[in-house]
């Protein structure tokens, strides 16, 4: 992995400046069964294709944002700032 990623604030930077926090998952609500909980905590879709994922510009401005990335080519299609009005 050595691609460039564009921070919504700082622009394109080497990926080494970022922390990757994995694909966006759906946190269960209510009282999930052990099965549902295990799925959420430990299992990932790991798609070969475009996925939405969390990134933080860790050694830059520190911002958390979402990126749509093609895992096969590392092409980043879009970076999105999370909207406080619409929790992820």
């Amino acid at each position: 992995m050595s691609f460039l990623l564009a921070c919504p604030f700082c622009g394109p930077r080497p990926v080494d400046e970022y922390a990757y926090f994995g694909e966006v998952t759906q946190r269960p609500t209510g009282s999930p069964s052990l099965r549902e909980l295990t799925d959420y905590v430990y299992f990932r879709d790991n798609v070969a294709g475009v996925q939405r994922e969390w990134w933080q510009h860790r050694t830059g401005c520190g911002e958390w944002f979402l990126a749509e990335r093609d895992t096969r080519t590392n092409e980043v299609l879009e970076v999105i700032l999370p909207d406080p009005k619409r929790p992820v």
């Binding site: 992995m1 050595s2 460039l4 999930p32 905590v41 430990y42 958390w64 590392n74 406080p84």
Partner: protein, 863 residues
């Protein structure tokens, strides 16, 4: 063999440099390479070949072929043809038993022929199985090139430098130079790298030239690591222009590896750069004008040209180089013998496409040129000059010429045409498989000199077209790299608090604690510092604690959802101990949370967890979209813990009104703003070390001032080690030491902490499930029956079987015993249970306890 001074030579005849070459003293001139100086001094054998231990001499003089790999001052596999000479250098041969001129192992060349065909190892040394240790011993000593001294210390320092380039040009030939100059007209940020040291003084307007420096590969995002000896440049280039040129290819004929068989470029370098006469009688063999032109150049310096063979005109039925003692003596051409001591031969040039291919370009066989050329370049990568095939003419020598003797396709790995035929005969019917079986192209030259030849031989044997065979996969690095360069130097800066130099001045032993440098203890006896805290007054620098401000209308909501604790019911000026858990229910970090106003909280984390906790807070805040701000003030604030029975009195003397810190005005778990020695301070009354104590948080710049005031007030500085003893006496857990990634609040004895009636918090789902099951293990305290100290991590043995582990253990003067914390099976976790702990390989008795060894009711810290 040195010629008279010539124009353009790169040596300074006024400056003699001496070094040791395979035991001989050799003197050359400044500007010489090790190889040129040794050649001028009459040395001809530079190495022994990989498998047959045949003598090998200079061939390419360009740093490509394996023939001049030697050990230079203990560093193996240095290509001495490009290594500058330095006074006193010791150069030794490698892959040699005895000496370069007489190698014991060269018997494999003479008698070993039936024993060393391709695949011999794979087939032979597998049975009988019992004999493998014997085989292994022999094979290990015979295999490999060069030796590393495992006991040698650091010989060099390596660094990594991150660079940006608008345009990075790889290769400093005519095409690379003009591409660089063109790019420089459009603005700055143009860098040219070339592996040839001679390009170091290249002067191109607006272009930074790095030489000798090798581009090792091209990765996505324009990442190009460049090997510049002891510095690895990690270039990020907006555009990469590859002008790697084309590499002269050897001709494949029997005896083509003899000492004295050279490529024209190698000969040119010896003559032009170092004014060396490479031979007395030469035969020139080639299929293009460029190669044949070397004859004229040699004649000029007085070498007799015995024969020029133009392979375009003749198709010899026999073309053999014969030698004596490994050196070329004559060329036999269709029965005619031409005596010579130098045989210059080349089969044209192959574009050096490897960098482009591994960057993602397609490589195709160009029928018109008879070579492989790159096509379909990836975005951001360009190719110019000979690497694209530009300027090359069709040269098609026979894939291999017939005759008696070993005919090498790959000189690095000693692979002959016979080996290739055998591999094909055995059914390795793809070039990738044949490559792996024969190991051709897998040696030090990485296919630069043998890739084309092996494909041609393969095509001829299989009666196929080269285009149908394709190439093997090109992988980085372009050239061998020293591992040290890839490892580089760790440049993580040490973090030091603002009071740090006071600790150094006091003679403290400093140790690493995560990214921080912290005092271990101030003297030889940490127990004295422990006693001072118990009996009087101590002070420890805890500036390394993570410190966060959480502020906003949603601050309570955010914290209540991050922690299993409740905060909404907290009064202003109160403190709560909190533990962070993951959604898997595991303990992540702990610390204190003080409510300063309705909307403002001051949060502390562990010293090593500060950065991760900050990121964790900010991430969840982004997920949930709360109206709360998180500010990391870890570096902005210093902190000290003033502890001991006399701490109230000592603090009282430093504040305006001592009544502000009286037992009634400043209770246990209160947070309060105070001016301490004139410094605005947030004082937290908490008791990690188990005595009456105050954690003072204040602006970092005032660190030394406040520290000095506290020490002058009678506080004895104590370090990390006494603090570890003190907290262990209280049974206070250190997250990450006493807990691991499997520990949860129930197994760690903190089932009182989570408020399960809250709607949601991170970890709640998991804790709901944990609450319904029995934990396998529990964290408990123990005391040793005898005065022996178990190591942290020591095994706990129950009925002769390993059943648990010690996480902390110390001798406690206050308790009068060796105490510790340990994980044990739940059914053995009842206080009073006897277990055994392995100490110095012996099982010693221990008794399980509740864990709070000292002042279990907490009277002292609440007093």
């Amino acid at each position: 063999m040195r010629l008279d001074k010539r124009a353009g030579e790169r040596i300074d005849r006024g400056k003699a440099v001496s070094f040791t070459f395979a035991g001989w003293k050799v003197t050359g001139f400044e500007g010489d390479t090790i190889a040129s100086a040794a050649f001028a001094a009459g040395k001809r054998v530079f190495s022994r070949s990989f498998k047959y231990h045949r003598p090998r001499g200079l061939m390419c003089c360009s740093g490509h072929c394996p023939n001049c790999q030697m050990t230079v001052d203990g560093v193996p596999n240095v290509r001495v043809c490009t290594e500058p000479i330095r006074e006193g250098t010791v150069v030794e041969g490698q892959n040699v038993r005895w000496s370069l001129d007489f190698d014991f192992m060269s018997m494999t060349d003479k008698v070993g022929a039936p024993f060393t065909p391709v695949g011999f190892y794979y087939r032979t040394f597998i049975r009988p199985r019992a004999a493998w240790p014997l085989y292994e011993k022999f094979l290990r000593s015979a295999a490999g090139l060069g030796k590393l001294d495992p006991h040698a210390g650091h010989s060099r320092r390596y660094d990594t430098e991150h660079r940006h380039a608008r345009v990075l040009v790889v290769g400093g030939g005519w095409a690379g130079r003009s591409a660089a100059l063109d790019a420089a007209k459009a603005g700055p940020g143009v860098v040219l790298v070339d592996e040839d040291a001679r390009h170091a003084d290249l002067d191109l307007a607006g272009v930074e030239v790095l030489a000798p420096a090798r581009a090792l590969g091209i990765w996505e995002g324009g990442l190009v690591p460049v090997d510049a000896g002891t510095v690895l440049y990690r270039f990020r280039a907006e555009k990469v222009v590859v002008a790697a040129g084309a590499t002269e290819q050897p001709v494949v004929f029997p005896g083509n590896d003899l000492v004295g068989v050279m490529l024209p470029d190698g000969v040119r370098r010896l003559v032009r750069d170092f004014s060396i006469k490479p031979g007395e009688r030469a035969v020139v063999l080639g299929a293009d004008d460029e190669t044949l032109a070397i004859a004229g150049e040699l004649e000029e310096i007085g070498t007799e040209i015995v024969k020029v063979v133009d392979l375009r005109e003749s198709r010899p039925r026999e073309l053999v180089a014969e030698g004596g003692k490994g050196r070329v003596r004559r060329l036999v051409l269709d029965g005619e013998r031409y005596s010579c001591d130098l045989l210059v031969a080349a089969g044209g040039r192959q574009p050096a496409y490897s960098l482009l291919a591994q960057a993602g370009a397609r490589v195709e066989y160009d029928e018109a040129l008879g070579v492989f050329v790159p096509t379909e370049l990836p975005d951001g990568v360009e190719a110019v000059g000979a690497v694209t095939g530009e300027g090359l003419t069709k040269i098609a020598p026979e894939p291999a010429y017939p005759g008696k003797g070993k005919c090498f396709v790959c000189v690095c790995e000693d692979v002959t045409t016979k080996d290739m035929k055998r591999a094909i005969g055995e059914g390795f019917d793809s070039i990738e498989l044949a490559k792996r079986y024969t190991t051709t192209t897998m040696g030090p030259c990485q296919g630069k000199l043998c890739h084309l030849a092996s494909i041609r031989v393969y095509a001829q044997q299989n009666r196929m077209y080269e285009s149908a065979i394709g190439t093997t996969t090109a992988r980085p690095p372009w050239a061998p790299v020293e591992l040290g360069l890839l490892a580089g130097r760790e440049l993580t800066p040490a973090r030091r608090g603002s009071i740090h130099w006071r600790h150094e001045e006091a003679g403290a032993t400093i140790q690493w604690a995560g990214p921080w440098k912290r005092p271990y203890a101030y003297g030889e006896k940490p127990e004295d510092e422990v006693r001072a805290v118990h009996e009087a007054l101590g002070v420890i620098d805890v500036s390394t604690l993570g410190k966060l401000l959480v502020e906003g209308p949603d601050a309570v909501a955010l914290l209540e959802r991050l922690y299993p604790n409740r905060f909404g019911d907290m009064k202003r000026g109160r403190i709560r101990y909190g533990v962070l858990t993951s959604d898997g229910g595991r303990i992540m970090d702990d610390g204190t949370i003080a409510r300063l106003t309705d909307d403002l909280f001051y949060v502390t984390t562990t010293s090593t967890g500060a950065d991760a906790v900050t990121a964790w807070f900010e991430w969840w805040n982004a997920v949930w979209g709360y109206d709360a701000e998180i500010v990391n003030v870890t570096g902005a604030l210093a902190a000290v813990n003033l502890a001991g029975p006399r701490s109230r009195e000592a603090l009282g003397r430093l504040v305006d009104d001592p009544d502000d810190v009286s037992a009634d005005a400043f209770k246990y778990l209160d947070a309060k703003h105070l001016d301490v020695a004139g410094v605005p301070t947030l004082a937290l009354r908490i008791g990690f070390v188990g005595e009456l104590g105050y954690e003072l948080h204040f602006p970092s710049p005032a660190g030394e001032h406040l520290w000095d005031a506290l020490v002058a007030g009678g506080a004895r500085p104590f370090g990390l080690e006494p603090q570890r003893v003190l907290r262990l006496e209280k049974g206070h857990v250190i997250v990450g030491q006493d807990t691991d990634s499997e520990s949860n609040l129930y197994s760690s004895g903190m089932s009182w902490l989570p408020k399960m009636d809250k709607d949601d918090f991170v970890g709640k789902f998991a804790l709901e499930h944990f609450a319904q099951r029995d934990e396998k293990e529990k964290l408990v305290g123990f005391t040793m029956e005898a005065n022996v100290l178990p190591a942290e991590g020591a095994q706990i043995v129950i009925e002769g079987l390993p059943a648990g582990r010690v996480t902390s253990a110390r001798r406690s003067e206050a308790v009068g015993e060796v105490i510790g914390l340990a994980w044990v099976p739940t059914d053995r976790s009842e206080p009073g249970t006897r277990v055994e702990i392995v100490v110095d390989r012996q099982r010693r008795g221990a008794k399980i306890t509740h864990g709070a060894f000292y002042d279990p009711s907490g009277e002292r810290m609440r007093s």
